[in-house]
Symmetry: C2
Subunit: 223 residues, 2 copies
């Protein structure tokens, strides 16, 4: 996949290398304490070359944040369209969404999900696109979750807002796991998805069936 | 509750005021970008007066972090002792632990739980006491959680490690809610506790009973 240099060693695209090294510096030193000069030095390029790829460090962090969420958010419409196309219920669709979200967080370079917790990200307008992508994802969780709880009646059922936050929160366990060096296996994906369905009051028979249907739908989404 | 000054206005203890204002600065500017000088200036005292209360800014952040977790961790042994004293099962004990943890996070000054996400906290040895308190809490969740799942058999049951992380993660929804300005009501406490029990495969009858018993046990713990 990677371009080869003369010596035969794989070469990383400069843009990817900047993102990777900047992510490490932001996590290690904090965003405020890292300059574009620090990043350029760590990559081993001139600052002018860095500016060829990114206007400033905010743009670098913005792109890292997007990589931890955009691949999931971009699939929400297609996932929800599966209801009409295949007759899949909200339990199956939630399972699909959780598994794909877990995979996005597991694949984000340098566990970029950690960066979403930097205080700057909550505050600066320049990161608003990330905040609104996160809002879209939370809404999708809330929408599917309330469709599932609506069919079930029980005391202490989370309302729409809280359900969206609880599901988003549960899936982000992946960020903490990666921070501790835990591999994100298919078994973990399945357990996180099952846990989300349990929070929506789904019973085990529903979870078992959702897991089977979700696997085949994800195959078709990715085909 | 607060001491009154001559003019009749409530006065905050200087130590509390330093903690409160420092927490705001750490969240707004980041930890690295805040000096003890900035904190003293914002409080309106001399730096020497600040040093009378805290040796450095690490000590201030350390105390803020402890306030978001210590009140819960200090009760773990007494909660687990309730099993022998009252015959309460692990479902009831988990309910008690979750409700008390939600209350600690809800009461922490300036939503200090947010500060646990600062990159410095994961990295610096000086914050190790917070890391180990968090480890103790996760272990307690894992211990009680696996006692609950052990009585139930189902596919996709989280193992001990993952269960501890999932439960800790769910309860920390309170931090995100406070960041968005949501009040943490008794209804929220009950729903978060119910959600934790659901992740441990508890059914609704078990949750309803745990909620009732938990309320009276918390009353006796706090008496």
């Amino acid at each position: 996949m990677l371009p080869q240099v003369a010596g035969g060693l794989p070469r990383i695209e400069p843009r990817e290398e900047i993102l990777d090294i900047a992510a490490g510096l932001f996590v290690d030193r904090g965003f405020a304490a890292t300059s574009t000069r620090d990043i350029a030095e760590a990559v081993g390029i001139r600052q002018a070359s860095l500016y060829f790829h990114f206007a400033n460090k905010e743009e670098i962090l913005g792109e890292l944040l997007q990589r931890s969420i955009r691949p999931t958010v971009d699939k929400i419409k297609r996932i929800e369209a599966l209801a009409a196309e295949t007759g899949a219920g909200p339990d199956v669709l939630l399972h699909v969404l959780v598994v794909l979200d877990v995979r996005t967080l597991a694949a984000a370079p340098r566990n970029a999900g950690v960066l979403s917790r930097l205080p700057e990200v909550q505050r600066k307008d320049v990161f608003e696109p990330f905040g609104s992508a996160r809002g879209e994802l939370r809404d999708a969780y809330a929408r599917l979750g309330t469709q599932i709880t609506a069919d079930r009646s029980a005391a202490m059922t989370p309302d729409r807002d809280l359900l969206g936050m609880l599901l988003l929160q549960l899936v982000e366990v992946v960020i903490g796991m990666r921070s501790c060096g835990h591999p994100i296996t298919p078994a973990i994906e399945a357990i996180v998805a099952a846990s989300c369905l349990r929070v929506c009051l789904a019973d085990q028979a529903c979870i078992d069936e959702a897991a089977v249907r979700s696997a085949s739908l994800i195959g078709s989404l990715e085909a």
